[in-house]
């Protein structure tokens, strides 16, 4: 447990020291919100949630890429793969929660008539999905540029795809959109239930994907035999 917490803490420390990154993390959802502010509020809030998801995914991608050289030696120092990826995910979730707070308050200050419980759930879903999503891309694509371009593609698809279409459910942040619709348009409970279920399932699947890649990359190699000191 101590190893897990230490990795989470160091992830948090690293991200909090990247002031430029933090600023951009805050700026991105804010821009998304403001750019749609004159139009329909629901679209503005959905864009805000997508912005939070994109920002946290990008942070996760960069954190994962930056740790690529460090992780093998931490493995040798006594960490198991799950300490490393779960600890990092925990740290990223904490960062996501911290940056979500102002975006929970923003529509409130703006006087929006929302179900604020729904907004909180949508933010949680967005952050929950984004951390393993960015980590998985970072684990699969070792170069930041390729990872960023893939993230950009996914988020663009997410923005443009018809949410009622069956393909939309395959996008990672569909859950956020469903919960946001429940929060903004005061629709029936089905939106909330579908969204929460989708969010939990996608988070679990992405986390399993991260675990699988980490376990392969940081596995004990068969050619190396460890003996106790005689």
């Amino acid at each position: 447990m101590n190893r897990l917490v230490t990795v989470a803490e160091m992830t948090l420390r690293e991200l909090l020291r990247r002031r430029g990154v933090l600023l951009l993390l805050l700026l991105m959802p804010l821009t998304f919100y403001l750019i749609r502010r004159d139009a329909y509020l629901g679209q503005s809030v959905r864009s805000l949630l997508l912005g939070v998801g994109w920002a946290v995914s990008t942070a996760a991608l960069f954190a994962t890429t930056a740790a690529r050289e460090l992780e093998p030696r931490l493995r040798l120092a006594g960490y198991r793969p799950h300490h490393l990826y779960l600890g990092r995910m925990l740290g990223l979730w904490m960062v996501g929660l911290v940056i979500s707070v102002p975006f929970f308050l923003l529509p409130m200050v703006d006087g929006a008539d929302l179900r604020y419980g729904g907004l909180a759930a949508a933010l949680l879903c967005s952050v929950g999905v984004a951390a393993p999503f960015g980590m998985l891309i970072g684990a699969l694509l070792p170069r930041e540029l390729e990872g960023t371009l893939l993230l950009l593609t996914v988020v663009t698809v997410q923005m443009l795809i018809d949410p009622a279409g069956s393909g939309a459910k395959l996008t990672p942040f569909w859950s956020t959109r469903e919960i946001a619709t429940w929060a903004v348009d005061h629709t029936d409970q089905g939106y909330l239930a579908r969204g929460v279920l989708h969010g939990l399932a996608v988070t679990a699947l992405l986390a399993l994907g991260v675990a699988a890649v980490a376990n392969v990359r940081l596995r004990r190699r068969r050619h190396l035999r460890h003996l106790p000191v005689g």
């Binding site: 101590n2 190893r3 230490t6 990795v7 160091m10 420390r13 690293e14 991200l15 020291r17 990247r18 930056a66 740790a67 050289e69 460090l70 093998p72 030696r73 931490l74 040798l76 120092a77 006594g78 960490y79 004990r220 190699r221 068969r222 050619h223 190396l224 035999r225 460890h226 003996l227 106790p228 000191v229 005689g230």
Partner: protein
């Protein structure tokens, strides 16, 4: 280099060459007395400290080194190919507790690949490695976190071994001090100079008190003093029973090692150091 620096370097050289501590102290005291009473530049009077230390060793011999212990690392028949290119072919190395092995060879001959295979970071196409005890690894570069402080690196590595924060920090600072670096500052790793960053890298690899220590050209960016401290520390670790493998291209250090693996093509089998000194058979 003034007389004091010259004497310090001489003392370090004598220590490295395993001259008995009492005899080394006597030699340094005599040289100091001679310089004080007779004056003159030590470089003119005695010559370079390394050369003078060599003459002393020839004259009075060295203290017997500890007998090499049990085998700690045995890499056997290591072969590695990247596509059609064979980087390593049937490389074999055995290192015992209390020994330093050097892996040498031309650029691109697979020195770092061999070390990474020994560390279990990549798989060979053939061969196996047996390691007894805890393994430590210091990469050529990278391996640190840009936005963390040195102390936080020590805490991170220490937690892997279940070491509490305070002791991990103290152990890290003490190990860094052996390399002439006061690590307790408020400086993030990205702001450290290349050499200091390598000291951090090296300190992290020794922090878990490994039984087998693998070092991939860890001295890049070191100044002369740190370089001497580095070999001093390797000597101390060897005396404490650590089995050390160091990738190096600096052939002038080969007299300080016990075993040499030359990976230059056509000389791919492990061989004993051609000029083993310092009481290591």
């Amino acid at each position: 280099m003034n007389a004091d620096d010259w004497l310090r370097t001489l003392a370090a050289e004598l220590h490295q060459r395993r001259v008995a501590a009492d005899a080394a102290r006597h030699v340094v005291a005599e040289a100091a007395t001679h310089l004080r009473e007779g004056g003159g530049d030590p470089w003119v009077v005695f010559g370079p400290p390394q050369q003078y230390a060599g003459a002393i060793v020839e004259s009075i011999g060295t203290a017997p080194g500890p007998r090499p212990g049990p085998v700690r690392l045995h890499a056997r028949g290591i072969t590695k190919r990247y596509g059609r290119r064979t980087v390593l072919h049937d490389a074999t190395l055995t290192v015992r507790a209390g020994q330093i092995a050097a892996v040498i060879g031309a650029n691109g001959c697979g020195k770092s690949t061999f070390l990474r295979i020994c560390a279990g970071l990549i798989s060979p196409d053939a061969g196996d490695v047996t390691v007894s005890g805890q393994l430590g690894y210091c990469p050529q570069s990278g391996g640190t976190a840009d936005f963390l402080l040195a102390d936080e690196h020590f805490v991170l590595v220490g937690a892997g071994q279940g070491v509490a924060r305070g002791p991990a920090r103290r152990a890290g600072r003490a190990a860094a001090r052996q390399l002439g670096w006061e690590a307790g500052g408020d400086v993030q790793a990205r702001h450290l100079s290349g050499g200091t960053r390598q000291k951090l890298n090296l300190t992290m690899s020794t922090l878990s008190q490994p039984d087998v220590l693998l070092l991939d050209e860890p001295y890049q960016g070191f100044d002369q003093g740190t370089y001497v401290n580095f070999w001093d520390q390797l000597g101390r670790l060897r005396d404490a029973g650590t089995a050390i493998v160091v990738v190096t291209h600096l052939l002038n250090q080969l007299d300080r090692v016990d075993t040499v693996l030359d990976l230059t093509p056509a000389q791919q089998t492990g061989r004993r150091a051609p000029a083993v000194q310092g009481g290591h058979p």
